[in-house]
């Protein structure tokens, strides 16, 4: 069944790209971890649909893998979009950075604030952008993988049994609880099936 497994790239690109773009916009930068986890979950959902069509397995492990892939896309797109917005709004020159740090009440340690400005001046905005994008990718991969794991568990797909060498697969799928009925008994010629 592994040979029939469809590519994970398209669901990862769709889910990671779209939600990464949304999370990168400064006004929607709220609960970004949920955007990332949602991207992994959405990618798992999309991939499960593809697997169902292709007759391939989709389980929790694959959900985690597609979550990782989606998180990488999410991080690159989200970090990129956020950096572009920072460049457009002029938030990456030293004075703007200093003002932002001074105005941020969350930065409680003045020595840390001074260090941040000093670092920003020494390395330049591009290194800062890359560092920030790297953090974005790491966080995106972690949370998206978790979302993908949950998605793989929720949208699990089991491939139908295959006929190989004239017989059924040695690993048939389990019968659904309560939902499936046993196959009808064989009917010999001339005998009408019993009606209930």
């Amino acid at each position: 069944m592994d040979t029939k497994a469809p590519s994970m790239l398209l669901p990862a690109l769709i889910a990671g790209g779209s939600l990464g773009f949304v999370s990168g916009i400064p006004i929607s930068n709220c609960a970004c971890c949920l955007w990332a986890a949602g991207a992994g979950f959405l990618a798992a959902f999309l991939y499960s649909k593809t697997c169902k069509k292709a007759g391939a397995d989709f389980d929790t492990g694959r959900g985690g893998v597609i979550g990782l892939l989606t998180g990488a896309v999410f991080g690159v797109v989200g970090g990129g979009v956020n950096s572009v917005f920072s460049l457009i709004t002029g938030g990456l020159d030293v004075e703007s950075m200093r003002e932002a740090i001074d105005a941020n009440p969350m930065i409680t340690d003045p020595e840390a604030a001074a260090q941040a400005v000093e670092l920003f001046e020494s390395v330049g905005p591009m290194v800062f952008i890359l560092g920030f994008a790297l953090i974005w990718i790491v966080l995106g991969v972690i949370f998206s993988a978790l979302g993908g794991l949950i998605g793989g568990s929720v949208f699990k797909v089991e491939a139908p049994p295959t006929v190989a060498d004239g017989g059924w697969s040695s690993n048939p799928p389990p019968m659904a609880s309560g939902g499936g009925e046993p196959p009808p008994p064989p009917v010999s010629p001339g005998e009408s099936p019993r009606e209930e």
Partner: protein
């Protein structure tokens, strides 16, 4: 509610430990900053892509605002509790997706109200509201980890009627 086995519990314990460590770091950052540890401010900065970090919306446990908002803190704490409950009880809870939707409804409503400039929950009620979706997500994650740890065993065991 299928019981977990030893291989499940190992990976579950690892994940629970990491989640607990993460929560401890969130609580520890303001304390460390208060004691003059500069590295804590860098960790706070590193978490900025994960949350808006608006000070008014962050819980303050005495040493300063947490590095994530009350809603995010509730989600993380709930997730940790969900993993811990599964690990300690040795039972796999398998909440359906609709539980997550129901549990998230108060937080979603609060978010919508906040987006439309209507009155919203204060920080602690917001934290409590986010605990529930976090808890359900934690239970779902624990179940997913158990499935991944022993995929061949878990699938027939949960679907067959004994």
């Amino acid at each position: 509610m299928n019981p977990t086995d030893s291989s499940d519990r190992f990976w579950l314990a690892v994940l629970t430990f990491v989640a607990g460590l993460f929560c401890a770091v969130l609580v520890g950052i303001p304390v460390a900053e208060h004691r003059g540890l500069i590295a804590a401010s860098w960790v706070r900065f590193g978490l900025s892509p994960a949350c808006h970090q608006i000070t008014d919306r962050c819980l303050d446990l005495g040493a300063g605002p947490l590095p994530v908002c009350a809603r995010c803190a509730g989600l993380y704490a709930g997730g940790f509790v969900g993993l811990l409950v599964t690990l300690v009880s040795g039972r796999r809870f398998q909440p359906p997706l609709r539980w997550l939707v129901v549990a998230a409804t108060p937080s979603i409503l609060d978010f919508v109200l906040g987006s439309t400039n209507l009155p919203t929950l204060a920080n602690w009620p917001r934290f409590v509201a986010a605990l529930f979706p976090g808890l359900v997500a934690g239970l779902m994650l624990a179940d997913a980890v158990c499935r991944m740890a022993a995929p061949n065993r878990s699938a027939p065991a949960e679907d067959h009627v004994e």
